[in-house]
C-alpha cells in the first residue's frame, strides 16, 4: 500500500497473469455464467473462436486488480470505462498496465490497457480513483 500521490506520468508496475481453464470454470461458476464459449472447447470452435474465451469481466477484474493492488487501500475505484479489443484464451499471458494521466491529492486518473503475450491489445480504458475519506 502506498500513501503517496502518484504523479502524472507514473507507470504502475504491470500485473502479469495467465488465466487457466480452471480459473475460467470458477469464474463462470461464481458469476453463474453458463455461456458455453467459456468452458466448452467444441462449442467455442463451433462459434469460430480459437478456444474457450476469457470472460470480458474477468479481463476487467484483472485490470482493476492492478489498480487496487498498486494504489493501495487509501484509494477507491470510482469510475471505470473500458472497451474490449481482442479476445484471449487460457494459457496466454495477459499483461495489465496503467499510467497516471491526472493527479490531485484526492483524485487520480489512469489510462489502463491489457495486452496479451502476442502483443495484441485486449482491453483499453480509463479508471478514476478517489482518496477514501
Amino acid at each position: 500500500m502506498t500513501s503517496t500521490i502518484p504523479p502524472v506520468g507514473t507507470e504502475l508496475a504491470p500485473l502479469r497473469h495467465v488465466p487457466t481453464n480452471l480459473q475460467l470454470f470458477r469464474y463462470s461458476a461464481v458469476t453463474w455464467n453458463a455461456h458455453r464459449i467459456h468452458y466448452d472447447q467444441d462449442y467455442a470452435s463451433f462459434e469460430g473462436h480459437p478456444g474457450v474465451l476469457v470472460h470480458s469481466h474477468l479481463h476487467a477484474a484483472l485490470m482493476l486488480r492492478l489498480v487496487t493492488e498498486r494504489l493501495g487501500s487509501e484509494w477507491a475505484v470510482r469510475d471505470v470505462a473500458y472497451r474490449m479489443r481482442h479476445s484471449s484464451v487460457p494459457g496466454t499471458e495477459l499483461i495489465e498496465s496503467a499510467r497516471v494521466v491526472e493527479s490531485t491529492p484526492d483524485r487520480v486518473v489512469l489510462e489502463v490497457a491489457e495486452h496479451d503475450a502476442n502483443g495484441n491489445l485486449c482491453l483499453e480504458g480509463t479508471v478514476v480513483a478517489v482518496r477514501r475519506s
Partner: protein
C-alpha cells in the same frame, strides 16, 4: 463473407430496438461474505479485505468488501433454468437471443461503471435494468449489433451502489460468415 445483414441479426436488431427504454426491477437478495470471497479467489486476488472481516474493518469497511466489478459481473442472479430450457450456447432461453434467434453469437464488448459505494457482505441488492441503446455497425467481420443496458444497483435502504452501462456485441451465426 456476405456484406448483407444476416436475416437473424436484422430480426434481432429490430426486436431489440423495440425494447429501448424498457425498465425492469429485480430483488437480487443479500450478497454474503462467501460469495464475495469466492469471487475474489476466482480473479486471483489475495487481498484480505475480501476475506477477513477484521481486516476489512481495519481498512474502514463495515464488513468484507467485494472487488470493484463484482456487481457488474454476475451473469445470472436467479437460480437459473433447467438445462433443457437453455439456449444451445448455454444462455437463458428466456433471454432475447432465444428460439429462432438462438444461433446468434454474443460477447462482452465493454462497460462504463460508476461506483458510488463499496459493496460489503450483508447488503441487500436491488437492480434496475434499462435497455438504453441498440446500434448496428459494420466492420471488418461484417455486421454486428451493439446492445447497451444500464444496470443500477441499490441497497435495500435505497442507496445507489453502482451504475454500469454494459455493452454486448451480437454477431450472425458463425457459418454465415464463411
Amino acid at each position: 463473407m456476405s456484406d448483407a445483414v444476416h436475416p437473424l441479426l436484422q430480426r434481432y436488431y429490430e426486436l431489440a430496438r423495440e425494447r429501448i427504454g424498457r425498465r425492469s426491477w429485480h430483488d437480487r437478495g443479500v450478497v454474503d461474505a462467501r460469495t464475495i470471497a469466492r469471487y475474489a479467489v476466482a480473479i486471483g486476488s489475495s487481498d484480505q479485505i475480501h476475506f477477513d472481516p477484521e481486516h476489512a474493518r481495519a481498512a474502514g469497511y463495515e464488513d468484507v468488501v467485494a472487488p470493484p466489478n463484482f456487481l457488474a459481473s454476475i451473469f445470472d442472479w436467479t437460480e437459473g433454468q433447467p438445462e433443457d430450457r437453455l439456449n444451445p450456447d448455454g444462455t437463458d432461453a428466456d433471454a432475447e437471443r432465444s428460439g429462432e434467434l438462438s444461433g446468434l453469437r454474443g460477447m462482452g464488448a465493454g462497460e462504463e461503471m460508476e461506483i458510488l459505494q463499496p459493496l460489503v457482505a450483508g447488503t441487500h441488492v436491488i437492480e434496475e435494468v434499462e435497455l438504453v441503446d441498440v446500434v448496428m455497425k459494420h466492420g471488418s467481420r461484417g455486421y454486428s449489433v451493439f446492445v447497451t443496458q444500464q444496470h443500477t444497483f441499490s441497497s435495500g435502504a435505497g442507496d445507489v451502489l453502482n451504475i454500469n452501462r454494459r455493452t454486448v456485441v451480437v454477431r450472425a451465426p458463425h457459418e454465415e460468415e464463411r
